[in-house]
Amino acid sequence: MRRAFLPAGLAILALPSFAVDFKTEVEPIFRENCYACHGEHVQQGQLRLDSRSVALAAGPSGQRLVAHRPEESSLYRRVAGLGDAPRMPMGGELSPEEIAKIRAWIEQGANWPTSSGTEDGLNQHWAFLAPRRAKPPAPGGNAANPIDGFVRARLAAEGLEPSPRASRETLARRLSLDLTGLPPTVQEVEAFVDDDGPDAYGRLVDRLLASPHFGERWGRIWLDAARYADSDGFEKDKPRQVWFYRDWVVNAFNADMPYDHFVVEQIAGDLLPGAGQDERVATGFLRNSMINEEGGTDPEQFRMEAMFDRMDAIGKAVLGLTVQCAQCHDHKYDPLTQRDYYRMFAFINGAHESMQAVYTREEQRLRHEILSQIREIEQGLRERMPDWRERMAAWEAREAGRQPEWQVLDASIKLGSGEKYEVLPDKSILAQGYAPTRSVVNPEALLQPGMVRAFRLELLMDPRLRLGGPGRSFRGTAALTEFSVEVAPASSPEKERKWRKLAVSRATADVNPEFSWLDPFLFPDKEGKRRILGDVGFAIDGFDMSAWSIDGGPGRRNQPSKAVFELAKPFTAEEPMLVKFHLSMKHGGYNSDDNQSLNLGRFRLSVTDAKGAEADPLPTQVRALVEQGEGPSRTREEVAAVFSEWRKTVGEWAEANRRIEELWARHPEGASQLTLKERDEPRMTSILQRGDFLRPTEAVQAGVPGFLHGLDAHADVPPRLAFARWLVDRRAPTTARAIVNRIWQGHFGTGIVETSEDFGRQAADPTHPDLLDWLAVELMENGWSLKHIHRLVVTSDTYRQTSRVTPTLLTADPRNRLLARASRFRVEGELVRDIALASSGLLTRAIGGPPMYPPAPEFLFLPPISYGPKRWYTATGTERYRRSLYAFRYRSVPFPVLTTFDTPTGNFSCVKRDRSNTPLQALVTLNETVFVEAARALARRTLDQGGASDAARIDFAFRSVLARRPGDGERSELRALLDDQRGRLNTGELEADLLAYGEPRDQASADASELAAWTALSRVVLNLDESITRE
């Protein structure tokens, strides 16, 4: 049925009257023109035109074939050149007749008989199939390291030769930078260069892998993926304590914690059997999300933002997949549906955003000692009083039933300050979001007719509060400046309501700290007023400078508490009354953009008509035990808890009680860490329309995407833990590949898969797919040991090649993807600074601990650069010269030295840094304070240790930074510079003191001039391209 003689224009008009046969007329067009890119082997745009099922299904940009509607069929539009998308086939057009034929076929219903084409689907994407170990090729038959086999096979295929080995100096510096992030010392280089023993290189590798700095170097890389920062982000960007997590990561790398464990602990360490502090700290990985506590935020909205961030981080850091798209809709390219996304989301959606107290090893030891001494003292008391059980029972009998009946009020708070209040099922109120530092909140409740003699304010714990509360301070404490209460008839109209104040005559509380001054450093007052804290009497003294401190001191401060306020005269409500409380909290600092709040966190109000009501001195648990009465069912711990309360009431034990109090006073402050804490009640997870938390559609159960490996479900394993284990299952296709690829990226500048954050269908093709898989399997079969992979990589010949760029290589492989040479690249921001510190001898090598504040321009941390004033305690002494890993990281005003060199801010997970080369970087290394201090220190060191002659000293300074000796030209250049500066110093054109010491000195030191000249020289050496380059 050929109509070849019809003119093209007419063909379109003429065709519809003839039936087009797919098999004989359309399929041949596809075969001839399309299969090459859309066929069995290559399936660009996820289209294969030899497959009926694929062609008739929707593609990434819509329906390819819509029966009877060619204009709506993207296939027709593309071949006919309609619309914006490039015309198909690429690089050539179909003839008008062929186009007309396709059009007619679609108009007639796009009838594709099942007998035509294949029913096969799209090829499985390589990365979604588990890696399989390929046999390493061995070109020449003797590549000792399988890595070289893979790399050389590819080189041979491209007709390229590997490069010769780099010099020992270069290797020493390369290895040291790659494995520890620090340059080698002159002695270390010398030792290696002079080491004639067998496997000197292997021993160097072993030494560096065992160095505690290895964990700092590779831990930092993981911290990028974990979006680590020391502040909350968003507007307030308050400081947070999370360095225990940072140290946990460093320690894990140093201990070569198996990577599967490493991941499991970070996702669900708290759920592991016998989880201790370390395992809980590990969950800080998920908590590194930003927190928005600006005025007027909805806590749930930003919890969801944090959840999205966690999903993104798990995707990038662990799975090497971009899951973020599926937050709003099915993934466009990968078979990840929106439902899949929320099913995975459900695994991690059942936890509280908690903050817990953490202690260093030393503090833990002290804490243990204190607690056991207290137990010993109590044991001693029991031993010296044989009838203590009877006496305690008698006390309990007296104590039982002494608490009046309290009626809990249904209170609520009107919005206004920007703080948000959630009324919980027990009628307590939880304050969240913005935390004002000075506020008065006014809970209101309805009071039924009857008599009121006292009000009770209970302060309760909640996992969402810092350290569990009950207050909102960074320690979970609070201070109540004043308490007062008013009533008005509920029937009166709001505008005309006349409030009557009820006088409070007496206040009692279960925690009554001694008088103290409010710490003006932690809670500064703008006018410098000195404010006081103490017992609950301060809450009713009508004096705004004093407050009841809800703070039981270190080790005992995060506990529920209560106060009772007795009215001077009983109040009798004749009709329903409104009761309005004034909870005045004015003891915070002045800066609500810092952690300076002392507000109540979770509280509940009650009334009683009982006479003489007092705050129950017993903790809730002990009260319940006492009311229950002693029985055989009481556990040892319960007995001990009651005993600890009772002993306080025994007069003859005053001395022991005093000793116990002294012990508590020695309890360490500790620090805090953001962690996950599983809720008692799981949350319901729903698919969210366009990712909007206000538009949940369908509820989903936790589950894993169908295109990945299955989940072994065990009823007794908590879902989040099951998910964590699933992530690192041996069958997980991308997990091992993703991490070995990032190790490769660290050592070669680019991963085998360049898109290290994405192994999905849109990923760049791996340059060495078999090698990637081989490494992935090697990792898993060697107990997920990352150090094993590092050792394999750095001992390969491929790694040990010179990085010299020849014109041939520059032409053949400008980006060195094939690795016919080693890679040469600028080191990461932290290393730029660390190199200056280490090679000048300034570096402080202490590992771990609180972050430090390197010198930085003060204005950065003040408005109008920073939203609010931020604290920056510039480090002095050795602290100043700690590694950049420890520099405090504010997300909104990051430490500029690092960000100038592309260090991420921690706002989102990053598995591949940018590597820019800018003038601002030159300004940093030339002029920034610590870099200048490093130049001075290197000068000092050179004069002290570099020998006697200029030549020896130039060599010393050069080698301190670059490991190698200078060449003749380099030596002459530096010599000339030195001489020129000496000349200018001698004439007084240059001020020696300023250059050498940074400030004028009263007594000109004899060698100031020499020191100054060498400072100028050192500064040049530290600013060389090579100094901040890993060659």
């Binding site: 928005n292 935020t297 206004g416 204005f859 300004l923 200048v932 250059l995 040049v1020 060659e1031």
Partner: protein, 465 residues
């Protein structure tokens, strides 16, 4: 010694040209080096009407109801509750949305040939009203500051996307060899709520991020030489560094070293040119007066003059943050002060640019991250809460239709009822003026082609001259 240095220079140059040049071909080499200069000026998709942008970002959320969007009916309904249907699904940041309405606090009158109705707070803006286009129908998605600012700056509430200025540099490159292509200033009572994410480069290469300048002390971080290093020593040091780097280039052949050498030279030029640029005492008295600027005293007015000076020097995108517009309380006092600080300089900037013929290809944008509620906040009838449903911005120059007014809100200024312009549409229009089809200015990241306008945005044709 001079000889040795010269020889080293010569070696490197010759080696590079001969070895690399021969191997690669001169053109290929140039391409390779140019490819490593992502700041090279580039052609956009179509003929642009704007080459530069100055964004006067009024952080905090200026009240459209007191400045640009005259609502006499709001005065009439003052003290009553808003209609219930208006509040359906409406969320407010601080207040219970069911709060009483608050009438406009300032008088409005008509100005210019366009007859635009402006508040008495902005008399200077009134004097340029025929130069600007006022858009009364902006709509955004967020009602908290940080997310809304990041939305305005990057097109999404989530952190981590490139800012407008970064997209602009990525698309157009920079005309300036001595200065960053995207410069940020900050004035006002606070810093920007969205912090550096407002001018971050997101997943774009980091060299496209904004660089903060300030008007006291070092204008750029680490611009000054350290103590004891005079200009001559700095030059001598850079010469040595350059020569040593060239020797290394000779040895290892990595073109990246050439880029490093250029970076150091540009740093040196920045050291020389920036203080001169920042020195407002060079401006004639009548110019200072027009802006209300005082040299040496940091202010929004000073920043406005600097914005002009930067644009004159080929800086592509200048952004001035003035974070002071969050009038939950002290609406009258706060707005009065803010307008005192910003009205005159903003208008002067437009006039000045026009006088110098720069307004033709410089697009000036004035506005904040959202508007403010027609409902009152606080008991003293002197505050408004955040409001994302409707707010006003103005634009001038760079192919924007002068004297135009677009969009209308309902009688309470609550919702847009005519010609809504979503933040995405604003971005699309801005990119259009710069010569881009906003759907085609993309960057592939994580397997997806990202845009400033995400998956939305329409060019607002009515705003184009």
């Amino acid at each position: 010694m001079y000889e040795v240095r010269e020889r080293a220079n010569g070696f490197a140059r010759r080696w590079f040209l001969q070895q690399c040049g021969v191997g690669l071909g001169a053109v290929a080499l140039r391409q390779l080096l140019q490819a490593s200069d992502p700041m090279a000026p580039k052609q956009p998709h179509h003929e642009p009407t704007a080459k530069n942008v100055i964004f006067l970002f009024m952080g905090g959320g200026p009240s459209h109801l007191e400045l640009f969007d005259h609502k006499p009916a709001l005065a009439k309904h003052e003290g009553t509750l808003p209609p219930a249907d208006l509040l359906e699904g409406y969320r407010a940041a601080f207040i219970d949305p069911n709060s009483t309405l608050l009438g406009p606090k300032f008088k409005f009158s008509r100005h210019g040939e366009s007859g635009a109705d402006l508040s008495e707070l902005v008399p200077h803006t009134a004097s340029i009203v025929d130069e600007i286009a006022i858009v009364k129908s902006l709509v955004t998605d967020a009602f908290n500051h940080a997310p809304a600012q990041v939305m305005m700056s990057t097109g999404t509430q989530q952190f981590g996307r490139p800012s407008m200025g970064s997209w602009t540099l990525y698309g157009l490159g920079s005309e300036s060899r001595d200065l960053p292509g995207f410069v940020v200033f900050s004035s006002g009572q606070k810093g920007p709520s969205g912090g550096n994410a407002n001018w971050g480069s997101g997943f774009l290469p980091s060299m496209y991020q904004g660089v903060q300048f300030r008007t006291s002390g070092d204008p750029v971080l680490y611009l000054s030489n350290p103590p004891g290093v005079d200009r001559e020593l700095q030059r001598a040091s850079l010469d040595s560094i350059g020569r040593l780097n060239r020797m290394r280039l000779l040895d290892v052949g990595d073109p990246e070293i050439e880029t490093r050498i250029n970076s150091f030279e540009m740093a040196y030029r920045m050291q020389a040119s920036t203080p001169e640029l920042m020195d407002l005492s060079q401006e004639p008295a009548h110019v200072l007066e027009m802006y209300g600027a005082k040299p040496g005293k940091p202010s929004f007015a000073n920043n406005c003059i600097l914005a002009r000076r930067l644009v004159e020097r080929g800086v592509r995108f200048v952004e001035l943050f003035h974070e002071s517009w969050d009038q939950h309380g002290d609406l009258i006092g706060g707005l009065t002060q803010n307008c005192k600080d910003t009205d005159q300089p903003s208008a002067a900037l437009v006039k000045d640019l026009k006088q110098r013929g720069l307004l033709e290809d410089t697009l000036v944008l004035w506005g904040g991250e959202f508007g403010r509620t027609p409902m009152v906040q606080g008991g003293t009838d002197d505050g408004r809460d955040h409001h994302p449903n409707a707010f006003t911005m103005w634009m001038a120059g760079g192919g924007i239709k002068p004297g135009a007014t677009l969009g209308r809100t309902d009688e309470l200024g609550f919702n847009v009822v005519e010609d809504p312009v979503h933040v995405h549409d604003l971005h699309a229009t801005l990119l259009h003026a710069l010569g881009f089809d906003h759907t085609k200015l993309t960057y592939r990241f994580q397997g997806r082609d990202f845009r400033l306008t995400d998956v939305a945005g329409w060019v607002v044709q009515e705003l184009l001259a």
